[in-house]
């Protein structure tokens, strides 16, 4: 029997264990997870810890990272580890952009409902008075399943590999915690919540309901369940809206509910930019949907100095006197680079000719501010990510026989889409100029759509129509998409 002494902030905890164990596994078993954006493969360097005692020698990946990684280090006897403190300052999108909401009147009818969005990275919940439609409180947190794997494929693999119960417990526990927090804020008892609408991508709903996700794990990627069902979550009837496809889920159905799509004759498109980019197009009474894996670059993974939207992260870069000028979350010294800052940094690098249109950098390092720089491999990671989104959009529009100029409304959904600088998105070729010109930022549209389902009976029929009539445009293995993907790796010509 050996003891692992864990220090996290002001708290110290002793964990008993036997034999040789991977540090991240032992921490996870004891509810003390570190983050693993790369799924514990030792390549992203984000689970760095300080450890002393009986521990394996640093392996090649740790040597490359220049630090100990909890996903690689194996402990064999008594040791002591210092974990980074939880970032309570993580910014999570719960806002609903320009969607209509009723502000709280402070009077509750006693009938309360909750809308929940299970994002792959973040989760958010809002409480509503079911009679006055007033929004009572909201709460958000990181999806605890991130400690198992950052992306949906990693979690599907983990579920099939024996972690199905763990993943289900993690997400149901998180919903309960969010509910508790929101009820406390609204000063109501949790048992007054009588119904919920829980949305998320198809994989998230599989993991929530403990379904075997085998069908989602390989080509041809055909889901054997698309939900549109009511389940019981700790005694509360909870509606799971319909998904359109294995990789175009209920979150997109919900986002479409509050978008410009599926309304009359207007040609409208929607995109949720994340690790998976989902997109939809409404033209002449037909709805087309598609999804593409953009990778986690926009969330900071695989970027040398990348991070989420935390204090100290550069979230914007502009040009002042011919030099990059940064804005930093919390107005502190710049320590890292989050997705929106990364996009700006590349746009600025292109404008200052530090980066050319092929993505080659003039120097080995482009200093932005503080100790933060952009490196050649970061530019390459963004080229791949933005090419996937841009090529996906082009292919989707092309399948309906139109070009970006034919779209009259473009809706951006999701946290990243809410915070990015649209001019930078156009400058680096993530989004076509014509779409940027008619963009509406929806915020957390999945959550807003879930709230509609919670509050308006007739929305359920609309959601069913949306999911049922959506025509899925396959991008994987599509030669047209592949060609556009290559073309879009280049940056646009600078003016």
């Amino acid at each position: 029997m050996a003891i692992l002494k864990v220090h996290k902030g002001k708290i110290t905890q002793n964990i008993k264990f036997e034999g040789r164990m991977k540090l991240s596994d032992l921490l996870l078993q004891n509810g003390l997870s570190t983050i693993h954006p790369c799924g514990g493969r030792g390549v992203c360097g984000k689970c760095r810890v300080e450890i002393t005692g009986s521990v394996s020698a640093p392996n090649a990946l740790e040597q490359k990272a220049g630090c100990r990684l909890s996903c690689q280090a194996e402990i064999t006897g008594d040791c002591e580890v210092i974990l980074p403190e939880d970032r309570q300052d993580m910014m999570i999108e719960t806002g609903s952009g320009q969607a209509e909401t009723v502000q709280s009147s402070g009077i509750s009818s006693g009938k309360i409902g909750a809308a929940v969005d299970i994002g792959t990275t973040t989760m958010a919940l809002k409480l509503y008075d079911l009679q006055s439609f007033a929004e009572l409180a909201s709460a958000a947190m990181l999806n605890p399943q991130g400690s198992v794997a950052a992306d949906v494929m990693g979690r599907i693999g983990a579920s099939m590999g024996g972690k199905r119960d763990l993943l289900r417990q993690q997400v149901t526990g998180a919903i309960e915690a969010l509910l508790q927090e929101a009820c406390e804020k609204a000063e109501i008892a949790a048992n007054t919540v009588t119904k919920m609408v829980v949305t998320g991508n198809t994989t998230m709903l599989y993991l929530l309901t403990g379904r075997d996700p085998e069908a989602l794990s390989h080509a041809p990627f055909e889901a054997d369940c698309l939900f549109d069902e009511t389940i019981d979550l700790f005694g509360i009837p909870s509606y799971l809206p319909p998904c359109a496809h294995a990789f175009v889920g209920a979150d997109i159905t919900c986002a479409i509910l509050v978008s410009h799509l599926c309304r009359g004759n207007e040609t409208a498109a929607l995109c949720d930019i994340g690790t998976n980019g989902e997109m939809a197009l409404w033209k002449d009474g037909r709805l087309y949907v598609a999804s593409t894996a953009a990778g986690p670059a926009f969330e900071g993974a695989g970027i040398t100095m990348g991070s989420g939207s935390v204090t100290g992260a550069i979230n914007g870069v502009s040009i002042v006197n011919g030099k990059p000028h940064v804005s930093v979350i919390g107005n502190t010294e710049a320590q890292s680079l989050c997705g929106s800052g990364l996009l700006d940094a590349i746009a600025v690098g292109l404008a200052l000719e530090e980066i050319d249109e092929t993505g080659a950098m003039e120097e080995d390092e482009f200093p932005l501010g503080g100790a933060v720089s952009l490196f050649p491999k970061d530019v390459r990671a963004v080229q791949l990510a933005k090419a996937a989104i841009a090529a996906g959009l082009e292919t989707l529009l092309d399948s309906a026989g139109i070009k970006p100029k034919d779209v009259s409304s473009f809706d951006l959904a999701g946290g990243f889409g809410s915070n990015l600088n649209l001019r930078s998105a156009a400058a680096i070729g993530l989004l076509p100029e014509e779409l940027v010109a008619c963009t509406t930022v929806l915020g957390n549209a999945a959550l807003s759509g879930a709230a509609q389902l919670l509050l308006h009976k007739e929305a359920t029929a609309r959601a069913r129509e949306i999911a049922k009539n959506a025509v899925h445009v396959p991008l994987g293995g599509n030669p047209k998409f592949n060609e556009r993907y290559m073309d879009n790796m280049l940056f646009p010509e600078q003016e």
């Binding site: 080509a219 293995g477 073309d487």
Partner: protein, 209 residues
């Protein structure tokens, strides 16, 4: 003429000019093997090095490879007549259940740039197809790509099937793709993992020496 000119035009992705220069070199009586080595392969080598150093990226490799193929097509019949054979033979594909092929195509192009003959099996390739192709076509290397954590297990199957077919002493198995690691290669008993296409081509060329 200077064969380094072919190399330069190839690096710049000028397919038409590469084709014209290769024809000119043939007309001048330069042996096809020399045009291939000192012109086309020398050019692709430099592109590969630059790719490894992040100086050029996928689109540039693609146009350079297109230019190389234009020149190589002119040389093929002459090389056969000279009795020159490829430095080695590889079969490559994306593993079963996985439809990604851009990374795999890049590896194929880089390997061709090393003078290797590559049989491209496409995507969603079963372990049996890898092994049977290696046997039927006398490949020295099986090269598997996987982009999904959920499908990479198919690579272990390829290793097992190759063992069962008794070709493990003759055929090297190389693996790669975003979720794949060195440790995974060791775990399943593959011979080699590389993190990028240019390194994969280097490793394949070394195996075929």
């Amino acid at each position: 003429m200077e064969l380094s000119l072919i190399s330069e035009k190839l690096q710049a992705g000028k397919a038409k000019e590469v084709k014209a220069l290769v024809q000119q070199a043939i007309d001048e009586g330069i042996p096809a093997s020399e045009i291939l080595d000192k012109g086309l392969l020398a050019g692709m080598n430099i592109v590969g090095e630059k790719f490894k150093n992040n100086e050029v990226f996928v689109p540039e490799v693609l146009v350079a490879a297109r230019a190389m193929n234009q020149g190589a097509n002119l040389l093929k019949p002459l090389l056969a007549a000279e009795g020159v054979t490829a430095h080695g033979k590889v079969c490559i594909g994306t593993i079963q259940g996985d439809l990604h092929d851009i990374g795999k195509n890049l590896v194929r192009m880089m390997m061709e740039g090393k003078g290797l003959e590559v049989v491209d099996l496409g995507t969603d390739v079963s372990p049996d197809t890898f092994v049977n192709t290696a046997i039927e076509q006398n490949c020295q290397i099986i090269c598997c790509s996987a982009l999904l954590t959920t499908t990479m297990g198919g690579m272990a199957e390829v290793v097992k099937k190759a063992e069962a077919a008794g070709i493990r002493d003759k055929v090297k198995i190389m693996i790669g793709g975003a979720p794949v690691t060195e440790a995974y290669a060791k775990q399943i008993g593959a011979d080699c993992y590389t993190s990028d296409a240019a390194s994969a081509a280097d490793a394949a060329a070394a195996f075929c020496k």
